[in-house]
Structures are given as C-alpha cells and as structure tokens.
Symmetry: C3
Subunit: 357 residues, 3 copies
C-alpha cells in the first residue's frame, strides 16, 4: 500500500485496541454532561468509537473544542457531539449533543472510555538486566534491555520501557510509566509519574567554578523529586540539585525538550511547554504556565497562577496571577502596546523621510 | 598521538571509505557542469578525493559556495573547482573549473561519487530482539540491541540502528535509515526516510483537560506519517496526532532538536532548522522554511514557499511566499525598519537628555 | 514512605558515598582560604559533610555564593562557612569563616573532598557488545548493553555508560566519562572528556543542495574533535564537519539541549548554556560565553571573551570582549536603553491618546 493511501481515521488497529461499544447513557454518566437529543434520534445505538467532526460517522462520538472549527460542526455526521452550552444550538439535528461547561474534560473521559491506558503486563523481559539488589514488585512490567541497578525500588504496576536505565538507589512509586530510552538517576518518584522517551533525569547540574587552569566541577549532591502525577516529555532534561533538591510539584506537566536546571522548585499543576527552559534555583508557585520556548534566569520566583508567554525572557520575579511576555518580560498589555506603537512610529517616520526626499 | 596533532583533512579513513579515483570526464558527466580548462592543464589526471579550497591538492576537487571564501579561491591548489558562472574567471590557472548555476548541487553529486552511502548489510545482529510477529525483509540490516515488536513491517534494504526500538505495528518503507537510540511508535514511514539518533517519533502529544483534581490526559489516538524522503534530525521529537495524524510531507527535512506537536501537517520539501518548534494542529504548505529557534503557535496556517526567520514567534497565519521575522512575526522589511528606527530614536533621545543636563 | 516526607539534606546515602571526616586544617589546606576563627570555637572538630546555609549543622561546611542569600548566613548553624572577604564579618560567631576571593572555587574543592568522583571499575559488563577489533584498555569500565565497534580505541580509566554506542573508528583519551544512551561516531576525544546522557555526537550535519526532484544530501566527511576536558550536556547534539572538522576547544563546557552545527570551531574554555544553538561554520574564540537559548547564524566569528546574552540572536561578527544581547544582537547598554525608551514613549503616547479622547 502506498503511504498516500493511508487511512487517517483515529484509533488505527495496528497501534490501538479499543473498548466498547457504549450507549448514550454510559456516555452521559461518564461525562456528567447534559443530553440534548433531537426527537428524531433514537437512544438505542451502540457507539463504537471517537473521531474528529469532519470524519466521524453516526456511530461515533466527536467534540468541538475551538470555535475556529464551527464550520465543521455544521456538517458533521457524528452520532454524538460534546459541546459547550454556547454552541449547543449549533449541533445538527442528526447528532445527540452532550452539553457541558468543560467539553475538553468530557472528551477526555469519553476518549479514555474507548481507549483506556494499557495496564502493566507483569514480568521482566528476558533481555533486561536487573541487579540482584534491586527490589521490583511482581506486578511490574520491565521491557527489553532495560537496566535496573542496585538499591532501586519499583512499586506496583509500573512499566519500565525498553532500553531505559534506572540507576542506583532510584525510588519509583506505583503506576509509574517510564518510556523507552529514559535515563533516570538520583531521583525519587511519587505515584503515577510518566516519563516519555529519552527524558534525562538526575544528571549533574551545570555547576563549576573558575579556577586557574580552567573550570572546576562542583559535585552535585542533591537529587530530583518528581511528585505524584508528574509528566515529563520526550528528550526533556532535569538536572539534580547541587546542595538542595530539584523538585517538580504534584501534577505538573512538562512537554518535550524542556530544560530544568539544578535546584529548581516547581509547585503543583504547573505547565511547561516544549523547548522552554528554567535556570538553576528558580522557584515556581502552583498553577504556573510557562509557554513554549520561554526562558527563565536563575534564582527568581514566579508567583502562583502566573503565565509566562511563548519565547518570553524572564529576568526578574513575576507576581502571582500576572501575565508576562517579551524579552525582557513585561505585562502582556504593555508588550502588545509597545509593538503597536513601534510599528506606527516606524511607519510614520518612513513617511516623513520619503516626503523629505 | 596528541589530539592537537589530529589531521583535519576530510574523509578520515578511520571513519569513511572512499570510491574512485575519477577522471575529469566522469566529473563533468556526473555534474552536468561546463568545463573551463586552462590550456596548461592536462585532462588525464585521476582525481582521488574532495577537500575544502584551503587544503585541497592538485588531485582533489573543491568548490566555492559562499563569496565570503573568495580569498581562499585565489590561493587554492585544488585540481578542480566547482563554481558559479560569476566566479568562473576567479578560478586560478592551476585548476580546472566546473562551472554551473547550482554549484552546491554539483558538489553534492561529486561528493556522493567519492563517498557513496553505505548500503545495508543484510542480517540481524545476534543481540537484537525481534518479536516473532514482526516481518522484516531479508535484505534489512538490524544492528545491536535493536528491538522490533509485533506487527512491525520493515521493507527492503533498510538499516535499523543499534539500540533503536520499533514499537508495535510500525510500518517502514524501503531504503529507510533509522539511527541509533531512536524511539519509533504509532508511525508509518514511506521510502528512503532517515531518522537520526535519538529522534522520538510517535509519543503522546501534550494534550490534557483541566479537571477538578488536576490535569486529565486525553488519549492520543492518531499516528505519525513520515512520507518518502523525509529526514528527522538528532534528538528531535514528533508527537503523534490526537484524533488526526501528524504528517510530514514528502522530502521535508527537520534538523536537530526540533519539536513537532500533535496534528501538525507539513507539505512537501519543507525545511525546519534546529531548535524550532511547531505547536499542535498548525499546517504548513509546500517548500516552507522555518529557521532555527523559531516558534509557531497552534492552529495556524503557513502558506507555500513562506520563510519564517530565526527566533521568529509566529502567532497568526503567514501568507504564501512571504518572509517574516521577529516576535511577534512581521515582514522582514518592517522588522529591520523597526529595529533601525528604535536605535535611531533611542540614540537621539539619549542625546537630548544629555544636552539637558 | 510518602514522597512528601523525603529528606532534602544533600548527599543522600542512597545515591552518594561520602569521604571524610576532615579537620579545619585540612579544609584550610585544600582551599588556600584564610581562617577567621571566633575565640569561642575549638578547631578540633571533625567535619562530616557539606550542606546549604539553612540546614547545615555545626559539623558541616557551607558557603555563600550570592548576596541574595545573606539573610540565610545570619541564621546559619554551619560549623564552617566559605565566604568572600566582603562578607567575612557577616559570618556568625558560631561558625569558622574560610575567607577567599573565590569562594565558589573553594567550595568546589571542599565538596570534591567529601564527594570525590567515583573512579572507573575496570571490566566489561557481560551484556555489552564489544567488536573484536576494538581496543579497550583493561582499566576501562564498560557498562550494561554498551556497544563498541571496530577500530575504536578507549584509553585508560574511562567509563562507558550503559546503552551507549561507540561507532567505528572513534578515539577516546584517558579518564573520559561517557554517560548512558550516548551516540558517538566520527569523533576523536581528548582526555577527561565528559558526555552526559543522550548526547549525540558526530551525526551528519544539516547539509543538502536543492535539486530538480527535491533536496540532495551532501556527504558529510569531516569529524568531531572534542579536546581535553570538554563537557557536553544531556541530549545535546554536535554534528560532524562537512569537509572540515567540528572542533570544541579545551575545557569548553556545553550544557543540556545545545545544538552545534557542522564545521563550528570553538576555542578554549567557552561556555554554552542550555538550549543555545550555533549554526554551521561559525567560529568562537577563547573564553566566549553563550547564554541560554541564544542563537548564532552560520559563518560568523565571535571574539575572545565575548559574552552573548540569553535568547540573543546573533547575525554578524561579535568583537572580542564585547557583550551583546537582543535579537538582532546589540551591545547590552544599547539593548536596555532601547527597551526603556520604548516603554517610556509607548506610555506617553498612550497618555496623549487618552487625553485626546
């Protein structure tokens, strides 16, 4: 088959196994959404899967998450559509509407119903290397060529991906998922921590003094603490602390290619989007968002619920609940005002120059 | 031998094996270039290799690709030099000139003549783990400790690098080259696809809803499609689609440490330079160039042949054939005008302040 | 034990083994610092370890490196504190002060005394794959599942981390430390080179010509030279040269997720902080600092001791000893003057608009 003929329907059976089918009652119960059913539609159908608006069939569930895609809603053939109240009356008469103030959350619930997480398959792959002084719960799945060193504890129902290396003394809670090719050292993980492929956790921080003969490394003797429900994206790097610990707070999520310097402390439910970097000893409160490619210098404090925009360069403390962007960082409003002002002035300056010729 | 005594001649025999020698006729035929031969030079020489202008010998071929290096051309001892017509008369009388409107392409052809790609050495390394339900063409080379899971198909003359993990169901076309330490899941690859070491293809996108208790992951049930002749650089990351597919178009090339979010669709022959990032659901046309460290937000469209400058922050659609730079993105001309205006104004403002003291 | 009860004292015995104890005389001798001892304190105590100011006990050594943390000095219970002369009189009467003009260097010496580098444990792990034509000194430690190919030479007391792949012909000096999951090809390493986990060294540079049918790869036939004492951070990428070599000078240190393009040449003791990128053929002098997320275009020259600020976009040569920041790069002073000017002007412009309403 040519690659141009690939079917783009989600849930490709080569990669995913599906649960279900489910009735509309189950979907209502799972989501807590309100059901708006056109009179012409029966509620007896068994829904078999999920799909985006433009390709969903009458036995599939879809959703609207972005008003950009409203034109697709008008034309959808989906049997069920999850929407916010504002768009409930835009759902066509051929679809049941599941109306909820948090459609994305409802979608997460329905999608998980059809595509639940694959549980750990207990057992150690015969090619893995397990040090005799490692303690691994019998329900844990250890995949091919994984390495688990002495003093490691792995709690129940974890998955240790192929080719991952868990170094001496690392502690891993329950239900953690370590992807492929992960390097994990000098670290303590809570429960349900997920590390994606190629994450590097616990290596030496970038710490050195300037000596007579060149740089002199400073032993980095802290560790990394990843609290419950933390997720770390593919190829992201988290250095261990120098004399303190690097701490990622409960439920925080880091995207791919993120850099976290030594001694960083992050609160609960922070979001760090791809290619952002946080320098050493900087502290984040709870619910802080750091957008893509933003950079924070070291030794500063970001308050709870602050939002740092994409590509922002943060050189000083950021107050709680404030939104900053630009390099150097400034309030959102100021940034866009400056941009508009500069554009206007440069244009009128150009006009003057032209008229003076 | 001290590292300071390392020879910097290209094609070090510890790492490369060379073909040839070749006559000037072969070089002319291979490149389609026009030969300008000084009367004093014989055409009988066998050329043995390639080298940069400053170190090439009379039996080697060189080229000029950047006028910055014109002073080196004047002094070169290369037997043959590939140049654009504009510089043909700058080639010294001791060199044959191969004159062509695309010297870099001619150089590619000559370099490939001397240093052809190493073909796959058929066979599976005894340390590799191949699932019994994988289908691998007998001409494929599988290197040490590679893992190939169930349902994988690998077509003819591919190379699967040491320590790479090919997860369940992945489809790989002909003549693909998967580097070392690659993680490849939920993906379909065309022919002649090249993935460099540490590339992470097919992991979950950064998708979650905000629930009462923290973030709730949304199952990511799309895949990654890498069409014919795609190349992905070292340690780059491409997330699989959420309910659609992430698609990289034919011939597109991604450099190192690039991030591609879920559902991104890229057309033919796009270039994404190192450390650039493209957020979820953004679409690129054909022949788009994204320079180094640029960032694109999600859900926007970049037209054919558009060029996005280095470190550019793109927050809205970009028209076909336009050039943008800056953060936020603006036309090249406007950006540099703004920069010059601000510099001028800030300087004169400083002058005023000083004169008022 | 709950993860919330984790002890944050440095030097956790699950991960680190400690030397000592040491007397104050040993600390003085090791650091060359001047001892200021309050009369009330005995010099007979054996110091058992190191810790930050806020948690150090009377048998531990601490230090002050950043005046931000002066309040912690006033309250410390540390038995010994390393400080600069300016803060010597701020050390409480319950602590010996070790006074030196370079406290961070003294700290490095003391920390290394308590936590010396673990030496190589000679031997090849039974799961590693060593090609019969590799030459490995008997004092070298090769960890689990490492791959060492033909023509490789590894000199004495190196450590080759688990899952690393050392490709054909690579030369490695003495006392090098290759982390886990490193890909190393087409490279020559001096002595005491350190590569952190997931570093990708020696892959093809991003070089291709534009042909009629799409892009045409140019064989990359240079190598990578990492001179003595170079360090490369986790998941960083260094492409090999095209027709020259990519060279990292003696003692230079690269942080995590750094990109180095083909043919880059870097002098001695340069610093490249995380997520910075240097494009092809750019040259750095000695003692150059490139801060986090900065980007340099190709074919430019950065003079000795120049400093490039965080997120800086460098599009042209930078003179020796100069400091630049901004995108495009400009002198530090000009950048911050421009920022202040724009802020002031945009504000007053806003004022005018408001008063005209």
């Amino acid at each position: 088959m040519s690659i141009e003929q690939e079917n783009h329907h989600p849930g490709d059976s080569r990669f995913f196994s599906k649960s279900g089918p489910y009735t509309i009652e189950t979907l209502v119960k799972e989501t807590g959404a309100q059901l708006n059913s056109p009179d012409v539609l029966t509620k007896d159908i068994q829904y078999t899967g999920i799909a985006p608006l433009q390709i969903a069939s009458s036995s599939e569930v879809s959703f609207l998450d972005n008003k950009r895609y409203l034109p697709l809603l008008a034309q959808t053939k989906a049997g069920v559509v999850i929407v916010a109240p504002a768009f409930a009356d835009k759902v066509p008469q051929t679809s049941h509407a599941l109306v909820t103030s948090n459609p994305y959350l409802a979608w997460a619930r329905v999608a998980t119903l059809f595509y639940p997480k694959t549980p750990a398959k207990p057992g150690v792959h015969p090619t893995a290397y397990i040090h005799p002084d490692a303690v691994i719960h019998p329900s844990v799945e250890v995949q091919a060529f994984a390495v688990v060193m002495n003093g490691v504890h792995i709690n129940k129902e974890c998955i240790i991906g192929a080719h991952s290396v868990i170094e001496q003394g690392v502690q891993i809670g329950q239900y953690c998922r370590i992807g492929n090719h992960v390097s994990l050292s000098h670290a303590v993980l809570g429960d349900r921590v997920t590390l994606y492929s190629g994450a590097r956790i616990g290596q030496d921080g970038f710490g050195f003094a300037i000596g007579e003969q060149g740089f002199v490394s400073i032993p980095q003797i802290g560790k990394v603490i990843l609290k419950n429900d933390v997720e770390v994206g593919a190829n992201s790097t988290i250095d261990r602390g120098s004399v303190k610990d690097t701490i990622i707070g409960e439920g925080s999520r880091l995207d791919n290619l993120v850099q976290i310097g030594h001694n960083v402390e992050m609160g609960r439910c922070c979001i760090v989007v791809s290619q952002a970097g946080i320098s050493g000893s900087t502290q984040l409160g709870d619910f802080v968002t750091i957008a893509a490619q933003a950079g924070l210098i070291g030794h500063i404090h970001i308050g709870d619920h602050a939002r740092v925009g994409a590509q922002c360069g943060v050189m000083s403390d950021v107050e709680a609940k404030s939104d900053v962007i630009g390099s150097p960082a400034m309030p959102f409003k100021e940034f866009f005002k400056n941009v508009a002002f500069l554009r206007r002035m440069a244009k009128s300056s150009k006009g003057k120059e032209d008229s003076q010729k």
